[in-house]
């Protein structure tokens, strides 16, 4: 993802500019900030609230409502592995165990060196060729077959 996790108001202002004319700008701005900094820090919440004339509680409410917005930093790479039905029918549980072993983190955890986070996700719309996962947003399918090696390569292992 190539983000640093320290909030920088000047950088934030540059990112937000593109959305400032738009109605309903909160989500696009949060997406942009998270894309750049990797998470939505408390300073970022305050900064956005001020800028959009919202209360901090409103911004915090939105950040905590949407699962994609993080209120603490994740690993530099984020791997989301599908735990939903169609992937279960094609070996998701075994694949998850393999990923946990190869990556050295448990599902739902971030590696101590913050190199990566492994998370569950429920259906990626790849049900026809699961088990499926996303590595920093890039989809990988067929993880009980050849896809696993490709996915691990995507993670740099």
């Amino acid at each position: 993802m190539g983000h640093s996790s320290d909030f920088d108001p000047a950088e934030a202002a540059r990112l937000a500019l593109e959305h400032s004319h738009q109605e309903g700008a909160l989500l696009p701005i949060l997406h942009a900030l998270q894309g750049r900094f990797g998470w939505i820090a408390p300073e970022a919440v305050a900064w956005v609230a001020e800028r959009l004339n919202l209360s901090r509680a409103e911004v915090h409410g939105v950040v905590s409502f949407y699962h994609d917005f993080r209120d603490h930093p994740a690993g530099r790479q984020v791997i989301k592995v599908c735990q939903a039905e169609a992937c279960q029918a094609r070996g998701a549980r075994h694949v998850t165990a393999q990923l946990e072993e190869r990556l050295g983190v448990k599902l739902g955890q971030t590696a101590p060196d913050r190199s990566l986070t492994l998370e569950p996700v429920y259906c990626l719309g790849l049900c026809g060729n699961g088990p499926a996962a996303l590595v920093d947003g890039r989809p990988y399918a067929d993880l009980s077959g050849r896809g696993l090696a490709r996915c691990l390569k995507g993670v740099g292992r």
Partner: protein
């Protein structure tokens, strides 16, 4: 074509919404008040996130232009000059492809201030979701587009009258809109003629998943039976030694079907006769050897996690269901727990602002009704009769549920 002409063709085509509820698309468009002085909007529901549903992603990745064409026609039919495509956060590739297609349309003068020289202005914006299943519910989607928490609104007012930014709004599913271009081009009769049954027109994308030989997305004439879809189109069971045990007909919220219930036409009305729904049109096939209690536990874990938290029966009840079912699955449940599933689920259904309450309670009630003995066996044997939670199942034969 005038707005009314467009709406008439779409009504005549009997095109029904592909987002789950099957509402006739042309009629929905006709509800937008003609005399409203406010701007109007079209919102494309591309939040596809019901587990096991994977048809909209396919359209957006493979043919985004067809979606844009249908969206533009829908805009014209209600005199809207702006549309939003709300793409689920996880569908990154779909979002990239739709944005590329939008950019191409702007460059070619198909979108923008003067659409193809007609003097009609139309902007289509792509908007990314942020990982909340509930934003697929149409009024939650509107809240989210406005930059708020995705919590569904009470209806009425209906979006056709008061939708996005309190203006008249039409919300349609990706697949619904993708069908509109060809319908306008070839006429309503062409579309209805593609279907095998009279009641509903056209073709449907069917996404078959689970324990079948050839899972995938198929475009099929309306009115095929689930048996035909599973055994003829998708090649039957993946492991021929295992019989079909059940089918989840259209996303995890739909009541489950047994093998003898697969001979009705797989369309919105016929499937209701066997007590279920076509939903999103994506059936998941389940083979013998799969633990129904475990399946239900996973489904309820998902719904409990995704409740938006507004309505107490859904927020609390979902979690209770998950805990009770987990207890039973682990062999620590009692007979009273089994009855509690029904009692809790029946108190959620019909008592919430949006249909999420039904999505949560229908699987619980139907799995219990059709597979009660499996729940009882868990309690009697004080363990899962299918063995402990598998740690390293054999990927190829795939007994993993």
């Amino acid at each position: 074509m005038t707005s009314d002409d467009i709406i008439k063709v779409v009504i005549d085509s009997k095109l029904r919404g592909r987002g789950g509820a099957g509402f006739p698309a042309g009629r929905k468009w006709s509800f937008v008040p003609k005399d409203s002085p406010k701007p109007r909007y079209v919102c494309v529901n591309a939040d596809e996130s019901e587990p096991g549903t994977f048809k909209d992603r396919y359209i957006m990745e493979r043919d985004p232009h067809q979606l844009i064409e249908g969206t533009a026609i829908a805009c014209k039919s209600i005199n809207a000059h702006a549309a939003y495509i709300y793409v689920r956060g996880e569908l990154g590739l779909a979002a990239v492809r739709v944005q590329q297609a939008l950019d191409e349309c702007y460059a070619a003068g198909i979108l923008g201030k003067n659409v193809m020289g007609s003097g009609y202005a139309l902007d289509i914006y792509l908007h990314r979701g942020a990982g909340a299943y509930i934003c697929g519910e149409e009024t939650a989607l509107l809240e989210s587009l406005e930059g708020k928490k995705g919590q569904p609104r009470l209806k009425p007012p209906f979006p056709a009258v008061e939708g996005l930014f309190a203006c008249p709004t039409v919300i349609n599913n990706v697949e619904t809109l993708a069908a509109v271009g060809p319908i306008i081009q070839n006429g309503a009769a062409w579309w209805t003629g593609l279907s095998r049954t009279e009641a509903e027109g056209g073709t449907k994308l069917i996404g078959v998943s689970g324990h079948v030989a050839r899972p995938g997305v198929y475009e099929l004439p309306g009115g095929l039976t689930l048996r035909e879809i599973i055994f003829e189109v998708a090649g039957g069971m993946r492991n021929p030694d295992r019989k079909l045990k059940a089918v989840v007909p259209g996303g995890t919220s739909c009541p489950i079907l047994l093998p003898h219930e697969l001979d009705t036409a797989y369309d919105f009305d016929a499937i209701k006769k066997v007590g279920s729904m076509m939903g999103t049109g994506c059936p998941a096939v389940i083979e013998e050897g799969t633990c129904i209690v475990r399946l239900l536990k996973r489904i309820e874990r998902f719904y409990a996690h995704e409740s938006c938290g507004q309505c107490t029966p859904c927020r609390e009840g979902g979690d209770w269901l998950f805990k009770i079912i987990s207890r039973i699955e682990a062999g620590q449940g009692s007979m009273a727990d089994i009855d509690k599933i029904e009692s809790v689920a029946s108190k959620i259904e019909g008592h919430t602002i949006c249909a999420f309450g039904e999505a949560l309670s229908w699987p619980a009630r139907s799995y219990l009704k059709k597979f009660r003995e499996e729940f009882v066996e868990h309690v009697k044997q004080k363990r899962c009769p299918y063995g402990p939670i598998p740690v390293a199942p054999v990927a190829l034969s795939g007994v993993v549920a």
